[in-house]
């Protein structure tokens, strides 16, 4: 079992529903977020390329945040999901410094927080909140170890990329391009 998220940048309109859905699902305080939208524009009018995409923790295979955590609060659970145990976290910030994606933040209560792939929903057989609300259905979620899963098929058949692959983290959020 290896969970992965695949996001189709050709469909994403950057509406940010994933961001709000995450906030309300996971009680992310106002002013913080576990996922976000970026926009890149290239070219000169009228020859322009626009890419919108939803970003979050990449649940890396080679997760620097897990390696540098002094207490083991940051850890990897089944399916390759990187989680933080709030009451083991001392708030040292090493993991935040270590993340090439700046995907972690200090929760106002002190511990470090980030995307969990909605682990609590997965356990109930539900999709992550962001995936389940996306109006453009540009987000897919599933098991990469299963060659027949939607995500495996998409990655097999479509051109894709990951973010900052040169960081050597082996991210598990993929972008169809």
């Amino acid at each position: 079992m290896r969970y992965a998220m695949v996001i189709d940048t050709l469909k994403c309109v950057g509406c940010s529903d994933c961001v709000v859905a995450c906030q309300t699902e996971n009680n992310v305080p106002i002013g913080y977020c576990r996922d976000w939208i970026t926009e890149t524009v290239d070219g000169t009018y009228p020859n322009i390329v626009l890419e919108l995409k939803s970003e979050r923790c990449n649940h890396c295979d080679n997760a620097p945040c897990v390696r540098c955590c002094p207490t083991g609060a940051s850890h990897i659970v089944e399916g390759g999901i990187v989680l933080v145990t709030a009451n083991e976290c001392i708030g040292c910030g090493a993991c935040i410094e270590s993340c090439p994606y700046d995907a972690r933040y200090q929760h106002p209560d002190g511990y470090v927080d980030k995307c969990t792939f909605c682990h609590h929903r997965l356990q109930k057989g539900q999709l992550p909140a962001c995936v389940s609300v996306c109006p453009t259905k540009c987000m897919y979620f599933g098991d990469l170890d299963n060659p027949n899963s939607e995500v495996s098929q998409l990655l097999k058949n479509r051109k894709h990329k990951t973010l900052a692959p040169e960081a050597g983290t082996n991210p598990h959020v993929f972008y169809l391009i």
Partner: protein
């Protein structure tokens, strides 16, 4: 024209637009850790070399500094933690891949040892104080304890040498282990911080020493360390220069950006080159007030930690 922006989300406190996760206490902590490591290293080394009498400052007198430095450093570290009530979690596990965990455990061992080292010279160095406090009369067990320590001083010294080196290297590795911060992410930072720590340790000894021979020796040591440190800094910059785009941009902060004045002005010139020249002049027999180069080295070392911690957090991966 190319544009990259956050459409929504982000603008998170202390994360955007650049990281502000580690603040002044971390810089201070790294400086004090390096200083303590340097002092403890020299104390243990010259004790093992049986130079206790020749170099009393290095072995005995200055031994009061490391416990204070380490205590302040630890306080600073805990002060910068965000989930302080859970600090004890550090000591429920040892994470071999985590520099922070190494640091926590090394400090747990070094700090008491530094107290013990100081304690073993307490009656010898501060007889006046003891005659006032009369601690050994009030608490009889202290006599047994002191006796036991003095008997085992050599063992402690042997332990302190590697521990001090680990502590000194650790202050650099804490930063260099982060792939995500290109300014920090180079193998030189560990040795560089260690060298800088030893150099500040030597400078502190010079500052406290009233013995010309001792001052000269540590002047020479410090000079050598400064030369090594300059070489390591040059090496570090060359590494950035030969590195990827992100490292080039990181280097830009030091050589042509917001931190250039601080880095070259205060760290390289005032903190290294000027004291080196002054120390050299003193060794050649010119009259130089020793306090000047020593203070410059110490301040330069402190500023160096501030520059690296602050500037490093401005650097990030591009994607």
């Amino acid at each position: 024209m190319q544009e990259e922006l956050f459409t929504s989300g982000r603008n998170i406190p202390n994360i955007d637009p650049s990281l502000q996760i580690w603040h002044w206490p971390i810089s201070l902590y790294l400086f004090l850790g390096g200083l303590a490591a340097g002092i403890l290293f020299f104390a243990a080394l010259f004790y093992i070399l049986n130079k206790e009498k020749t170099y009393p400052t290095a072995v005995k007198i200055i031994s009061v500094v490391p416990p204070i430095a380490l205590s302040l450093g630890l306080l600073a570290l805990v002060y910068d933690l965000n989930h302080k009530l859970y600090t004890w979690q550090l000591y429920t596990t040892f994470r071999i891949e985590s520099p922070m965990s190494w640091g926590a455990w090394v400090l747990l061992i070094v700090t008491p040892l530094s107290f013990i080292w100081t304690f073993s010279y307490y009656r010898e160095v501060y007889p006046g104080l003891e005659s006032k406090l009369k601690l050994f009369q009030k608490f009889k067990f202290l006599n047994t304890f002191e006796h036991f320590i003095i008997k085992n001083r050599r063992h402690i010294a042997y332990a302190l040498i590697p521990l001090a080196l680990i502590l000194g290297v650790y202050t650099g590795i804490l930063l260099s282990a982060f792939n995500a911060r290109p300014l920090w992410n180079n193998a030189i930072l560990g040795p560089l911080f260690l060298t800088s720590g030893l150099s500040t340790g030597a400078a502190a000894i010079i500052l406290l020493s009233k013995n010309t021979a001792e001052r000269h020796l540590f002047g020479k040591i410090d000079l050598a360390l400064i030369v090594i440190e300059l070489a390591l800094i040059a090496h570090m910059l060359m590494g950035y220069y030969a590195g990827s785009q992100v490292q080039l941009e990181a280097m830009q902060l030091l050589v042509g950006g917001d931190f250039t004045v601080m880095f070259f002005g205060f760290v390289v010139i005032l903190g290294l080159i000027v004291p080196a020249v002054l120390e050299l002049m003193e060794l050649k027999g010119y009259k130089v007030p020793v306090i000047v180069p020593a203070m410059l080295v110490l301040i330069g070392g402190l500023i160096f930690r501030f520059v690296m911690v602050e500037a490093g957090q401005l650097t990030r991966f591009l994607y």
